[in-house]
């Protein structure tokens, strides 16, 4: 029985998914990309294989995606994370017509047809404004972990407004808010709002078609998801593990390539 791997080497996390011929997920892994893309890809792949009880020799085809996709020698083909997140989200929620993927350095909005094929997309360029990296830097400034962020944001009684999504400017804004004793949860909510406004503007340019699915690590942040749903005025679906959606899409494309 042939097996397929998808490996998503993102700017922050490297993720892998193993599927079988029926598209069932047998194993998955999330690791840090760190400074060595190839090593991170190998580690993610081997962890996912171990979970599936398989070894590299069992793989019929592998697809690499993510910004580090060219540094994955084990993969036979590279496909962009845009196609992969689209297909992955569609596999989990077949009603998906819009995917919002917020990762560490990029945020993307993707329109899909009923088969999960990309029909249009938008993506931020260059800087990390409005991405997961931005939240990480701010969490660091506030002495919080990523897991704290969503919880605090949801619990906040009010909100301070953050005027910039530029990481550099927002950082100094946060420092001065902290210095003036603003409640941390209100600052966190303000930061989430800033990201959501930025990404929502991008999604708006594309046109929101329901159902909307969020993928990427930031979808684990319930504070961002709640504000995004509020801002777009729609319900948002979040997969059980949003961070491996790209790797799942890559694995499904690997199966398609081989077939």
């Amino acid at each position: 029985m042939p097996f397929y791997a998808g490996i998503d080497v993102g700017s922050l996390s490297s993720d892998a998914v193993i599927i079988d011929q029926e598209g069932r997920m047998l194993g998955s892994a999330i690791t840090e990309t760190g400074a060595h893309s190839t090593q991170a890809a190998e580690k993610a792949l081997d962890l996912a294989l171990a979970q599936a009880g398989l070894s590299r020799g069992d793989l019929a085809f592998s697809v690499a995606t993510g910004y580090g996709r060219v540094s994955v020698p084990m993969a036979q083909k590279t496909i962009t994370e845009i196609s992969c997140h689209g297909l992955g989200a569609h596999a989990i929620f077949p009603n998906t017509r819009t995917v919002i993927d917020i990762g560490g350095q990029d945020s993307k909005a993707i329109s899909l047809d009923e088969r999960g094929k990309v029909v249009d997309f938008v993506m931020n360029d260059k800087c990390a404004a409005g991405t997961g990296r931005f939240l990480e830097v701010m969490a660091g400034k506030l002495g919080l972990t990523l897991d704290d962020l969503g919880r605090l944001s949801l619990a906040a009684a009010g909100e301070v407004s953050i005027s910039s999504v530029c990481t550099v400017f927002a950082e100094s804004e946060v420092v001065s808010l902290v210095a003036r004793n603003h409640p941390r949860e209100q600052i966190v909510r303000g930061l989430h709002r800033a990201i959501v406004n930025r990404v929502a503007a991008m999604v708006g340019g594309l046109g929101v078609k329901e159902a909307v699915t969020m993928s990427g690590g930031v979808a684990k942040n319930a504070g961002v998801v709640a504000l995004m749903a509020e801002r777009l005025g729609i319900n948002i679906q979040v997969p059980p593990e949003p961070q491996i959606v790209g790797a799942l899409g890559a694995a499904l494309l690997a199966r398609r390539q081989a077939g």
Binding site: Y67, I79, T80, E81, I82, S83, D106, K117, V118, V119, D120, F121, M123, N124, D125, K126
Partner: protein, 365 residues
């Protein structure tokens, strides 16, 4: 299958060679000017679009929102680039270039003359035709006053060269649109853009050789149309080549928008130049109506089988930026995929831009 790149001299060597053979060399800023009149005066135009220079003192003279074409061009002049030239010519393409013209002429005290060329913008009435014809004769007279009268028959010869270049360029575009040109996009634009500094006596044989070497089937991947000012950064072209995509056609200001015109049959060379100017494809810098540009792009897509259009927008090219959003909307309505890339000249392609381009091609295939 992959033919060797054709030999093209460097600009710098070519400039020296032109001077050695007794030609004058004028540095010319973008975009539209009657090359034939310069050729007729035995002047070789050396166009200044995107010199690969690190930013130096030019930004001090310009507002930060001025485009890189103007910034890089000024940088070249400030670094003494004009010293090897016999003069500069600035066509009235847009406000930023017009501004540059006065900067060069009024403030910088250059060792060489700065000439201007004015051409009419749409709507084209009879008065526009009369105006353009007068501007051609004024330029002709100015060059004669500076560099001496032109030879008998030289203008007729120059017009014939211009028509031959247009015919060859038209053939290469045509073959490419039909998928019968095997040349990678990178080589295509290197050879066509060589006309920015090669005299037609050298560019014509180069184009002929290019046609001879590269007739053959194009890659079978997705077909895209390119629009914008010029194909820079060229890494984008390599990326399209690597991905097996075919550029079906282009709508670049520096290329098809001034290269592709039907040859005029007029006997008088000024009449011919006039007729050819008004027959050029629609262009933002000539004030063409959006509807005209949209129809033109749709036509190019149809002729080449392109299903997607990529706009290369040089930050912050004002005439282009006004047109791009409505053009994209109009093309989308026709079922064409569109994407605009904001680029800096000569700064390569970021990972994000590469991902967007690859994803765009995946979407088309």
């Amino acid at each position: 299958m992959t033919a060797q790149p054709l030999a093209i001299p460097s600009r710098s060597h070519y400039l020296t060679a032109q001077k050695e053979r007794g030609r004058k060399v004028l540095g010319v800023f973008p975009a539209q000017y009657p090359r034939e009149i310069l050729w007729a005066h035995d002047i070789a135009p050396m166009e200044i679009w995107d010199p690969p220079l690190e930013p130096g003192s030019a930004p001090a003279h310009l507002q930060p929102y001025i485009c890189a074409v103007v910034r890089q061009g000024l940088e070249l002049v400030l670094r003494g680039g004009a010293a090897r030239l016999d003069g500069l010519l600035v066509p009235h393409t847009c406000d930023s270039l017009q501004n540059l013209a006065s900067l060069l002429n009024d403030y910088l005290e250059l060792p060489v003359p700065v000439l201007f060329f004015y051409h009419p913008k749409e709507p084209f009435r009879d008065s526009a035709r009369a105006y353009y014809r007068r501007q051609l004769t004024i330029l002709d007279q100015k060059l004669a006053a500076r560099f001496g009268p032109r030879r008998e028959g030289a203008l007729e010869q120059a017009v014939a060269w211009g028509q031959r270049v247009a015919e060859l360029a038209g053939r290469t575009y045509d073959l490419r649109a039909r998928g019968q040109l095997s040349a990678p996009a990178l080589e295509f634009y290197r050879v066509l853009r060589a006309g920015e500094f090669l005299h037609p006596e050298d560019h014509i044989p180069l184009l002929e050789e290019f046609l001879a070497v590269h007739q053959g089937p194009a890659p079978a991947g997705p077909v895209v149309l390119l629009s914008g000012v010029l194909p820079n950064p060229k890494e984008l072209l390599s990326l399209l080549d690597q991905q097996g995509a075919r550029v079906g056609h282009d709508d670049f200001l520096g290329l098809s928008r001034r290269l592709l015109f039907p040859a005029s049959q007029a006997a008088d060379p000024f009449d011919a130049l006039c007729e050819q100017y008004f027959a050029l494809p629609p262009c933002s810098t000539r004030g063409s109506a959006l509807s005209q540009r949209l129809d033109w792009l749709k036509g190019l897509a149809q002729a080449s089988g392109a299903r997607g259009v990529i706009f290369y927008v040089v930050k912050f090219c004002e005439p282009e930026l006004f047109d791009v959003p409505p053009l994209m909307a109009g093309l989308k309505e026709q079922g064409l995929a569109t994407m605009s890339l904001e680029v800096e000249l000569n700064q390569g392609v970021s990972g994000q831009i590469a991902t967007r381009v690859e994803a765009f091609l995946e979407m088309l295939s």
